[in-house]
Symmetry: C2
Subunit: 480 residues, 2 copies
Amino acid sequence: MPAPAQFVEFVDTHADKFIQRLADAVAIPSVSGEAGRREDVVKMAHWLNGQLNSLGVTTELRDLGKHVMDGQELSLPPAILGRMGDDPKKKTILIYGHFDVQPAFKSDGWDTEPFKLVIDSKTGRLIGRGSTDDKGPIMGWLNVLETHKSLGLELPVNLRFCFEGMEESGSEGLDDLIVSETKKGKEGWFDGVDCVCISDNYWLNDRTPCLTYGLRGLSYFKIVVQGPARDLHSGMFGRAVHEPMTDLIALMSKLVTPDGKILVPGVDEMVPAADDEEKKIYNSLDYSIADVEDAVGGKIAISADKATVLMGRMRMPSLSLHGIEGAFYGAGAKTVIPAKVSGKFSIRLVPPQTPDKINPLVVKYLESEFAKLNSKNQLSVECLHGGKPWVADIKHWNYEAAIKATQAVYKKQPDLTREGGSIPVTLTFAESLGVNVLLLPMGRGDDGAHSTNEKLDRSNYIEGTKLLGTYLYEAAAISA
Amino acid sequence: MPAPAQFVEFVDTHADKFIQRLADAVAIPSVSGEAGRREDVVKMAHWLNGQLNSLGVTTELRDLGKHVMDGQELSLPPAILGRMGDDPKKKTILIYGHFDVQPAFKSDGWDTEPFKLVIDSKTGRLIGRGSTDDKGPIMGWLNVLETHKSLGLELPVNLRFCFEGMEESGSEGLDDLIVSETKKGKEGWFDGVDCVCISDNYWLNDRTPCLTYGLRGLSYFKIVVQGPARDLHSGMFGRAVHEPMTDLIALMSKLVTPDGKILVPGVDEMVPAADDEEKKIYNSLDYSIADVEDAVGGKIAISADKATVLMGRMRMPSLSLHGIEGAFYGAGAKTVIPAKVSGKFSIRLVPPQTPDKINPLVVKYLESEFAKLNSKNQLSVECLHGGKPWVADIKHWNYEAAIKATQAVYKKQPDLTREGGSIPVTLTFAESLGVNVLLLPMGRGDDGAHSTNEKLDRSNYIEGTKLLGTYLYEAAAISA
Ligand SMILES: [Zn+2]
Ligand SMILES: [Zn+2]
């Protein structure tokens, strides 16, 4: 059951009005990471709440308490819980989005004012902070609701909404809210939810729509090596004492090879190898080695084999060395022997890896490698934070519906992708609700979500609005 | 020919007056590293010049031009050239010292006002900035001159003086001055100099006087590895691209072992091994492994063998890893793949090593090790700066005189030591004048030259004054 023709037609004929809605949203500089913009995040919550109410959504602004930022105690912006439809014969879909944005200053290198949506008629780009991350997708849902209200159409599913204003600053308070609304039983806002749809990521490229069914987890480590009571002069003590930096660099060099193989025994081995069939999936993705190299700005792909590079990003763990705290980091030349140095690295995890399974392997390996150094310095290893990976069942009707909707709107088979990074709320929804979660992106890989000149292509916004609506109809039509 | 008994007696009976001279010098806060104190460095130059003149020394204040500090153009403080005696039958000894000091604020942790000399009658310590580095030794020379003037004694040698006010800030302008005064022929201030005596270092410990006859040189390196055009997100690109940090850490791990062996082929090998006789010298020094570990504040000596530890510091090259520029260095956890990272390390050099001989070995080794990594990132190696090592002939009469003077004053055999660090002016004197240079310290190893609560023990100041005077008599007595 594709969406009714009048739905699609209405979206096309009201495109300018929908773009104005996005412009209104972008104009509120709801930067969650700046204390001075906190009022604007709250203003954005009220603006969005007003839109939802006017389109028939029952809502509640939920206070999430206070937190400290830049030494200042601030109230967290409220989360918005919403409900539309309670028909027990319909499926119930929970929509997530965030109405806060990354900081942006024209002086960062923007060509236009970041909080004024600029429509570039030559390229079709809608340029402004939050256009693609994540105001565009939220406006897409409002557009779907407005279209139905205007046409007097009934929605094919029940909807629940969860919109937050702290995503760019760690989603403070959200996990507790989700868990509590799930646990409440018949009184919880998320009772009876059949699946979740999140639009907060991007296509792999600028050509082919995708659905994302996996995210990597993370274990972040700090290796501390210390010896002398204070920094030493290398002239005075070089070759007289064990230097913490020598030991730390030796340890850090034993973690990963230049081509990405993780040397901690048991880590790579925990992941089943891809068979030929799975490799085919990666080879068929519309994402080439050249796309990867374009994106990073250097011809440094880890392999000449496309499947190897894409699997390295999507279905393999990775280990990156981030830096060292406590050593000399400035420009110029300083002849110090640092007294205490802390190496930082992290491992991106894929199923069945979890921090609980990985961390002991890492700690044990580092301790045994350190013992081999025969150094009199002291080692300690800390696990700073972590998160589990997530992979969804792509045979679920939630994905089936999204695939059909993509085919209907874009006339293309979507790429089915896993992403290398984390969107922690995904795992929270999947684990606390126990339902299928779908990542259904609206924007393209070159949108520059956290960068200067963030944009959403007009066609992605308008076709994306159709996609979201069509997805609801396809979901409703499948017998679950 | 020891010093006349009346010389020694006069120094003892005038100790309080000499301490007052040191107090007057400490009271002028001649910090060369702070633009706001530049006037005080100039004031100190004029005060010292007045003292020299009143004691019969012919002097010239030499303008060294201007330089830029903290974005401000400043006149360099003048250097003082001095001359006393022109008897062709006498030896001519050049004395070097510096009248500038390190910065000091009570708030740094001083127990007393840094620029007010405090006499701790219980410990015998003279506490104040510059007391030991390097105003104490300069005052020692003035005390020797005053004693001779008061007693109507003729000096046994001709003296030349070179006092500067920028030593703690890179000795700007001094090298050129020394070279030009040497090259001038009969008109140069340093014409006819037979040897040099520098009092600007310290005993190894707080017990045994020492003479220092060697200093290590330095080659400072920067290893730059770069790949992507910008910093990357480790979730997005971990295991998809070659990461510069992985390559850099691999290279840095191949430079030195935890017990100090340098892995660059040809570097350690360039230094002849010590034979048993030389090892005996190190074993006989009054400096133990416990002294080293006390000084660094940790039980981290590189070996349980005393000679190995002391030779590591004094007569072997050492390689220290200082840090990384461009990587994450803060507290906390950041999941960045840095785009361009620069590893900093340096090698302390000993004869016959020089930067010219060592640098090509290092560059070649790093390039060949990088090639083995099979990385698509780019490597470049820079040599930031360097200096040659220096070792003096301890059989020279200059050292013979200092040994006899030490025996006469302290009733002890001095430790003959080499130091791990550099005092660049030493090499300039040795190379441009082509004469023997002696480092004859006045203070003790625990004086805290660049630290809080800098002190010079009263006995080191008074016996040190006797030592300097006696050294002149012993030098005069030896038939060169
Ligand atoms: Zn987002
Ligand atoms: Zn000094």
